[in-house]
């Protein structure tokens, strides 16, 4: 298309391409991705999928001028030396940069591949013909690790996925969980104080009757930028549970695209976004119901001490997906006048016998609740903290997950709430 060729390049576009080139070139697929990135540039507010997160503009603020020159000159970004303990003790830790080093538990195989993310396919119909997150991933050369969980396997401990923590890293993983298996994956997204973004692209395929819990624990450093994308297909009578915690980073976009792959599948998504001053955090999800009798509940709770939060949630129900039951909610607690939140829930329904709904709310702490707690002698700051914690902890409770993992997640939330008071 000729239109794309006319798009003006900005310093941010050029900078990102230079960074991708600096990170190493290599074979044709990689070069094609870099060329596409050069051609397409970064998405901006007129691309609907990026309307609230104008990447060209937001990246421009990070990648303009000296910062870029320094980043390119340095080539290798500083590693933070901290050794990260797994979120839950006993987890199998997989370093996605060197997956072959992981010691796979029984029923699991872990391997490295040369595959780059497929950026020609766009999982979000509101995005451009090229998928931005995958394109960045491929241009920076992220190679997918593959993890296979055998049918009927019941994994006792979570598999914790880490992508080159400490540097701006680009990781990709393809996970396939066999029929009737049970598994938990924890994606740790940490580190990274450079102007360049990190990325993580995951594909999860859940077999019939399997149960998978996927946790994204995003706690990037203060100045970091991150683009994440999780693509899920949920088999017949399978359950997919997601917990997404955003508690860090300066510029973050996390996409989740889930599609049913059989009748009777169930999707349960919960998330908590905790934002402070100067942060821009975007959660964009699409749920595609393409089979009869599937259910989905999706709730995000946001606490803003400042910054700008975005939620875009799309539920698409195709004509054959009768008896779909899908609910989506996004609730925001504004604790400061400096914060603002844009919520854009959308339903697109082609079946006639479905139950679908969405709601978005934003408000301050409920004054009646506050009065009730204070009337029992609980001082205002403590009473407010209790109410905020209750608001977000419900997301963890509703998932009904293993106690140790639940406590680890509420612990992370508590730590954020305490430190941001």
């Amino acid at each position: 298309m000729s239109v794309t060729e006319l798009r003006p390049r900005t310093p941010a576009d050029t900078a990102l391409v230079s960074l991708a080139e600096a990170a190493g070139s290599g074979e044709d697929a990689r070069r094609a991705a870099i060329e596409a990135l050069r051609r397409e540039g970064l998405p901006h507010r007129r691309i609907e999928a990026w309307h609230y997160t104008d990447l060209r503009n937001l990246m421009g603020r990070r990648l303009g001028g000296n910062q870029l020159i320094e980043a390119v000159a340095a080539r290798e970004f500083p590693q933070t030396g901290t050794v990260l303990a797994p979120l839950v003790a006993g987890s199998t830790v997989v370093d996605l940069d060197a997956p072959e080093r992981a010691s796979a538990p029984q029923g699991v195989t872990i391997a490295a591949t040369d595959d780059l993310a497929d950026w020609h396919e766009s999982p979000n119909h509101l995005d451009r013909p090229v998928d931005t997150v995958r394109l960045v991933s491929a241009a920076f050369g992220a190679r997918a690790a593959t993890i296979t969980v055998a049918g009927k396997a019941e994994l006792a401990a979570p598999i914790e996925l880490r992508g080159g923590i400490g540097a701006p890293s680009h990781s990709a993983v393809r996970v396939s969980v066999g029929d009737g298996a049970t598994a938990t994956f924890v994606e740790r997204v940490e580190g990274g104080g450079s102007p360049a973004p990190s990325s993580a692209v995951s594909h999860l395929s859940i077999g019939d009757g399997a149960e998978v819990l996927w946790v994204i624990d995003q706690a990037k450093d203060e100045g970091a930028a991150h683009l994440g994308q999780l693509n899920v297909s949920v088999g017949a009578n399978a359950t997919f549970k997601l917990f997404l915690l955003n508690a860090g980073g300066q510029l973050v976009r996390q996409e989740v695209h889930a599609v049913t792959a059989g009748e009777g599948s169930e999707i349960i998504m919960r998330g908590v976004n905790l934002l402070e001053k100067d942060q821009h955090v975007d959660v964009t999800t699409t749920l595609r119901h393409t089979h009869p009798n599937t259910t989905a509940t999706e709730t995000f709770r946001n606490v803003l001490m400042g910054g700008h939060g975005v939620f875009q949630g799309m539920i698409k129900v195709s004509r054959e997906a009768q008896k779909t039951d899908a609910k989506m909610a996004c609730n925001t607690l504004l604790l400061s006048e400096d914060g603002d939140f844009s919520a854009k829930p959308e339903l697109e329904i082609f079946a006639d016998d479905v139950q679908c709904g969405h709601g978005a709310t934003a408000g301050e702490i409920n004054q009646d609740h506050l009065f009730y707690l204070m009337s029992r002698g609980i001082p205002a700051p403590q009473a407010k903290a209790l109410l905020v914690k209750a608001f977000v902890d419900e997301m963890v409770e509703e998932l009904e997950i293993d106690a140790a993992l639940g406590e680890a997640l509420t612990g992370k939330i508590d730590a954020w709430l305490e430190q941001s008071h």
């Binding site: 004054q367 009646d368 609740h369 009065f371 009730y372 707690l373 204070m374 009337s375 029992r376 002698g377 609980i378 001082p379 205002a380 403590q382 009473a383 209790l386 109410l387 914690k389 209750a390 608001f391 902890d393 419900e394 409770e397």
Partner: protein, 251 residues
């Protein structure tokens, strides 16, 4: 204990005057009943005593043990011994009842310079008080008041009162919503708390509660003013005659 002097108050954001010169004194150890038709300002008075900021005091004062409490926030009033059992207790999703009870008890102890309760001691107290009020321990595992029936909520209010050991107990229609047995249980609980150093302001529409919790004084609030005070016989008179006569006399 409590001296309310010429108290005028209005709704803070729209200005409607609701209390129009309330005068009321409650002595140490006294049980004072407040009665009055719907909308006369009873709940408003109880909220103002507890420090709710939706209401603005425009004139007069509230003295608690000789000192004005108007400048104190609800938590400070609670720590100093004021307790309000709500007419409509609130459901607070996500806040576990036990966490709430422990936080409240320890916050008050801290404000009074007392040591915090350790968990075993706390559990013992809750179990004993719950048993006394025939409250099922399972109920306390739920979030605060969430899904409690009307009567269960009222009982839970009295449980909180028993645990927090306040000095001035304001009970706003605690009897409404309680079945006959529960009414007796709650009344026994209240009577057990009666002492020379603890006073009660019991708001009710019905003589029945006052058969169990026998008041020392009875006051009729009407259109934001106390229009008549008497002893327990005044409640009996109201039960028989209604408010018409007394309102007529006051006019």
């Amino acid at each position: 204990m409590l001296e309310i002097k010429n108290l005028h108050a209005r709704v803070a954001d729209e200005g409607t005057e609701i209390l129009k010169g309330v005068d009321l004194t409650v002595k140490d150890g006294e049980v004072a009943a407040i009665m009055g038709p719907n909308g006369s300002g009873k709940s408003t008075l109880s909220y103002i005593l507890a420090g709710r900021d939706d209401y603005e005091v425009t004139e007069g004062d509230i003295l608690y043990n000789g000192e004005s409490i108007l400048e104190m926030d609800p938590a400070e009033r609670a720590a100093s011994g004021v307790f309000l059992a709500f007419q409509y207790p609130l459901e607070i999703p996500g806040v576990a009842t036990m966490t709430f009870l422990k936080t409240a008890m320890n916050a008050q102890r801290k404000a009074r310079g007392e040591a915090e309760l350790m968990t075993p001691d706390f559990m013992r107290r809750v179990k004993a008080a719950a048993a006394e009020l025939k409250i099922d321990a399972e109920m306390l595992k739920r979030p605060l008041n969430v899904g409690f029936s009307g009567g269960e909520k009222k009982r839970a209010e009295i449980l909180q009162m028993a645990l927090l050991e306040p000095k001035l107990c304001v009970m706003d229609e605690t009897d409404s919503g309680l079945d006959i047995d529960a009414l007796k249980i709650v009344a026994d609980g209240v009577n057990a708390l009666r002492s020379e150093t603890r006073s009660f302001l019991v708001i009710t529409h019905y003589q029945r509660l006052l058969d169990y919790i026998v008041p020392d004084t009875v006051h009729v609030l009407y259109k934001g003013r106390i229009i008549k005070s008497g002893d327990k016989d005044l409640a009996l008179q109201l039960e028989n005659e209604g408010y018409g006569q007394i309102i007529g006399e006051a006019a």
